[in-house]
Subunit: 262 residues, 3 copies
């Protein structure tokens, strides 16, 4: 039995709050997707900032509304800065989100991710292979690709959510968001999104930003997934390939529920 | 009383010179905007090059027509390379431009910026908060956002220009460029530009490149601001959000005053 | 006398094989072009991964179908990781490709490139200035620009191919691919491609990925050049400048020979 669908009306309501708050989102993410991530946040009305030097990252994590840690192009010096930022975020009660990119395939980042889980992220966003690997149920996977379906990873996501005390979003053709007890599903999107680099990483940044909102965090994270699914679907309808998808996607995020925009 | 408007005819004339020279512009900029910065320079007819290793950065600063230093994602190793490049630029008489991104919010980059000012940039480009902070009149600001208007920062810009012996461009809804004595304003653009990452950083690269031109540097820098304002306005008219803005903006830069292109 | 033209029918046939294999392409490339490179590979049906930390890069080079080394923003730490990856690639028989960006202008990367040539790349892709410099026939060149034509660099390319035992692609208005004995030419494209950052670097990634295919490597590399020339030409016809070129180019790659797609 599939989990209940998250309501689009609820997602629209959460988007209104998101645009009002305009969360200052500190992104420590991989080299490949920084520009697309920043543009995704800006299109939705958030305020992104990429700050990476250890001293600065720590200082900024206390100012920011939310922090994203994405290990896509992790290096030793970046890991040091990320840890400093997460420690400061914990002290300052800044919610932080983990995107464990390709954690099942590479040992250095797996050690880092498992280690930093102890500092209790507000949310974790990954594909099925990544969530399975993080939960210790590695089923392979050759990098950023997912060779497992999100549906099959729900038990691992629920276990991980309970163990860490966090929200886990396992995303794919259908997204699932769980706090370990409740689980909701988010439909929409299009396979074309997998032909554009950074859609998953940008989603993690939106998830991170959504954790700055008041209210039910499960709903906030599910709403973030919903905005991206809706924009992805609309953009696919208006594009002739992955190139024209990108501007159409950012426009769709910008214009989502436009009647409700200030 | 607002400063006199910079003439669009003068900006068009300067653009002709810019395209003829095609300045080789050495960009040491932040991780987020490198691609957009390079594409902006290429669209205008300049020749960008991102060279970052200390030995190479020093070697290249002597070959280049102009150098940009942008501290958006400063790290200790990047700071070392930037200093080596600036020192070489000074010896080789390569004009260099400083973009003090978020200098008011973060201490590490503020120390770096204040320190490197002694090596006398040809120009400084920032938003109001950044120029106020660099002039020692910090009024807050939560990162790359500006919480002050450019108009209010004119006195700080003029003081900074006189103290350092440089051109200061303080940009926002209206841009102002000053050498400490003369001040001109540049109108145009659209708030949509603030929803696209890197428009300010790319402007700094164009300002840097414009400093390679002969003639009145105040006019050259104001012309750079004018090209970007004009292209931003045209692109906004042709786009339905920040996604479609980007290709439209680069096309507009490429086609600016097309009748005068070779 | 110009070399024979590579057949578009052959390029179409190779593209079918490429899409079927979907080579997992490990890209160690410069900071500026990572996103465009990944999107180019995704549009063609390959699977890109950017992994850069020394331990991870070595681990991943053994899993990947192909490896790209691009020295555009080389640093000392990146050079160490690249060497580790290439050594592992050699052991694991993963074919690796070198893009010697601006090798003629900068000493640090020239030393690195000449050094790493001993580890025998499957292919080298560069513009005329870069291939001449790598072959020890430096004719100048002010960075990433090419001041020589590809035609004039054919003898250097052939010598380099024989000495190293590799395929050399020297690209420009016309591309030439040689194994030292046979040489073919690839026509198409448009000068507008030089106004977009990363078209050459992305081509190198596609060349790298094509080296994962079975069969005649000279044909595989020439096919990679052909796909990019064809998409570049189609995109130019559909765009009004370098901004609209980018989405049109990725769409054209995605839709190339669509009748043959699965």
């Amino acid at each position: 039995m599939q989990p209940d669908r998250h309501s689009r009306a609820l997602a629209a309501h959460t988007l209104q709050q998101f645009r009002t708050l305009s969360p200052l989102t500190h992104c420590m993410t991989n080299e490949v997707v920084q520009s697309f991530t920043a543009n995704t946040l800006l299109a939705l009305g958030a305020s992104p900032a990429m700050v990476i030097e250890p001293e600065e990252a720590s200082q900024f994590a206390a100012i920011a509304s939310a922090l994203l840690i994405n290990v896509g192009t992790l290096t030793e010096s970046r890991a040091i800065a990320m840890r400093a930022a997460v420690e400061q975020a914990q002290q300052a009660k800044t919610p932080w989100t983990l995107d464990p990119v390709a954690v099942g395939a590479l040992d250095f980042r797996r050690r880092f991710c498992l280690d930093i889980l102890a500092l209790r992220p507000a949310a974790i966003r990954g594909n099925a292979s990544e969530i399975l690997a993080l939960a210790g149920m590695n089923a392979g996977g050759r990098g950023v690709d997912t060779t497992d379906t999100a549906l099959a990873a729900i038990p691992a996501a629920q276990t991980l959510a309970r163990q860490v005390g966090t929200i886990v979003a396992v995303t794919g053709e259908v997204d699932f968001v769980t706090d370990g007890q409740r689980t909701v599903s988010i439909h929409g999107g299009d396979p074309l999104m997998t032909r554009v680099v950074g859609t998953g990483c940008a989603l993690s940044a939106v998830v991170a930003a959504s954790c700055a909102l008041e209210g039910d965090r499960l709903n906030n994270v599910a709403s973030a997934c919903s905005w991206m699914k809706q924009a992805g679907q609309r953009a696919t309808e208006q594009s002739t390939g992955p190139g024209s998808f990108v501007p159409a996607f950012l426009d769709a995020l910008y214009n989502l529920n436009a009647q409700e925009q200030a």
